[in-house]
């Protein structure tokens, strides 16, 4: 069922969050899933970002560590991995891991980051080869770069069955006005944007618009590229954390994001196995309602 504005308001903070599936264990079968509005397909609500963390070049030790992270991610029930040609060696490092792990379930999210139709096509094909997948599940126009050329091309690829979903991305709150216009005027399956406990600009217009237009939302920078978790590392976890089953600040921050009904998947990046398990575990158990979300935000600001 598409997440319409009416449905969004029904689910809006606190009102009916209990209507969302909230399993209690971190086993693969119990992960919180969200529905992609344009297809009805369910995906685990926590994915894996690869910005910086997977750009390890040809270092065999660090490549093996990334493969371990992917292995733990798939073992915990995760499926969606997001990358970009802009991320240095992240793509071949993902391909390295996929070739060894051969996961049964993978939702491959990539981007096109160049200008010109032919350059875009060549870049997508090179990305596909680096991942070693027959086709991508999702292709996104990275940071709106030449979207007037790339988006119609991605939509043509979708029509031809060469990709399942198309989308567009931005990060760090940039170019939201243009993103909003594209979301209103174009047919998108996904939009990717930055949203976290402190950067909440998307709540005002973009998230409600995504719900209204039936666009799935990928959330990047859930920890402000690690700055939030580093800043909170020494702060004791408040008592409310127990109410939502969060045992770490990272889980509390992720649950804050996942509690917004317009959010489909949050994609934290990490290079540590314990952290990826911790992140996936956030997609289980209760989520905060409206009042608790505001309290989480206020508490983090105060710290």
């Amino acid at each position: 069922m598409p997440l319409t504005r009416r449905r969004f308001l029904e689910l809006a903070p606190g009102a009916a969050l209990a209507a969302l599936p909230m399993p209690s264990a971190a086993q693969p079968s119990a992960l919180l899933t969200r529905v992609i509005p344009s297809s009805g397909e369910a995906v685990p609500a926590v994915g894996l970002g690869t910005w910086i963390t997977f750009n390890v070049g040809n270092d065999p030790v660090l490549r093996a560590e990334c493969t371990d992270v992917m292995s733990a991610f798939f073992a915990a029930g995760g499926t969606l991995i997001d990358s970009s040609p802009m991320y240095g060696s992240s793509q071949p490092v993902i391909g390295h891991g996929l070739a060894r792990l051969k996961p049964q379930r993978l939702f491959s999210a990539e981007k096109v980051w160049t200008s010109g139709a032919s350059a875009g096509a060549a870049q997508i094909e090179r990305s596909r080869q680096l991942w070693g997948v027959p086709r991508f599940d999702l292709l996104q126009v990275h940071n709106l770069l030449d979207w007037q050329t790339q988006l119609p091309r991605l939509q043509a690829m979708k029509a031809a069955g060469q990709v399942r979903y198309v989308g567009i991305t931005t990060s760090e709150g940039r170019r939201h006005a243009e993103l909003e216009r594209i979301m209103r005027e174009q047919r998108l399956d996904f939009v990717q944007l930055s949203y976290n406990v402190l950067d909440r600009e998307a709540e005002a217009r973009l998230l409600p618009l995504a719900a209204d237009r039936g666009i799935a939302v990928l959330v990047n920078r859930p920890f402000r590229q690690g700055a939030l978790t580093r800043a909170l590392a020494r702060a004791p976890l408040p008592g409310w954390a127990g109410d939502i089953g969060a045992t770490t600040w990272a889980q509390a921050l992720l649950k804050f994001i996942l509690a917004h009904p317009a959010v489909t998947v949050a994609i934290p990046a990490t290079s540590r196995v314990d952290h990826v398990r911790e992140n996936l575990a956030a997609a289980s158990g209760p989520l905060p309602g409206r009042a608790l979300r505001e309290r989480i935000s206020a508490d983090v600001k105060a710290l």
């Binding site: 910005w51 910086i52 963390t53 750009n55 390890v56 070049g57 040809n58 270092d59 030790v61 660090l62 802009m86 991320y87 240095g88 060696s89 709106l144 760090e172 940039r174 170019r175 243009e178 290079s271």
Partner: protein, 218 residues
């Protein structure tokens, strides 16, 4: 790129500090025992520059080192995690050609003033001592940056040798630009070590201008 004023150097940093420092460990391990020779090469080049014929040898040696570092470190290692470095690697090749030409032509006829040579000696000594920065910063010695293998000490040592030998104006831009680029990277990585290449990029040209020696020839 829209809203460019909202970007900071950290936004362009696309790899972690661990990846950066481990590149030197990979280089040192792959080229062992050359890391033991690097500091001695820096000091030898500095001493060679005190004689005109020796300066030609030093410049020729630097030409080979710039070509080697550009290919082995920048092109094959660093550029893989930082696509901007792929654009810097050809500049290292250009610097190698310029140094080779300078070696063929010989150094300046008039020896640079002693204070300028002393400033150059400081930079050469710094380049030779660069491997000590790793343990001083709490990193393993295996991650040491070594003259002749790593770009920063090679660029800083080159600036020192240009001060001592009186190299022409054309030999200065690439090492100065690299030091500035590396300083920005290290600053984004959050290490105080950024001050060293930045200081070398500023101080060496300033010393060359302040204590002008022979007319530029390159």
């Amino acid at each position: 790129m829209g809203e460019w004023w909202t970007y900071s150097p950290e936004d362009f940093l696309m790899f972690s500090p661990r990846v950066y420092w481990r590149m030197f460990a990979l280089t040192n391990g792959a080229l062992w025992p050359l890391p033991l020779v690097g500091p001695a090469l820096a000091l030898a080049a500095g001493l060679l520059c005190l004689r005109a014929r020796g300066a030609r040898v030093a410049l020729a040696m630097l030409a080979a080192l710039w070509a080697f570092v550009g290919w082995a470190f920048l092109w094959n290692l660093y550029g893989v995690v930082n696509w901007a470095v792929f654009y810097a690697a050809p500049l290292f090749a250009l610097q190698a050609v310029l140094l080779a030409l300078a070696a063929a032509r010989g150094p300046a006829q008039q020896r640079p003033p002693v204070p300028r040579q002393a400033a150059g000696a400081v930079l050469v000594a710094l380049a030779a001592a660069y491997p000590l920065l790793a343990p001083l910063a709490g990193r393993p010695l295996s991650e040491a940056e070594v003259f002749a293998l790593a770009p920063d000490p090679t660029a800083i040592g080159t600036l020192g040798i240009l001060l001592i030998a009186g190299g022409g104006a054309g030999l200065w831009p690439v090492p100065v630009l690299w030091c500035l680029f590396s300083a920005a990277t290290l600053w984004a990585l959050g290490t105080a070590q950024a001050a060293l290449p930045f200081a070398a990029a500023v101080a060496a040209p300033a010393a060359a201008l302040f204590w002008r020696g022979a007319p530029a020839r390159a």
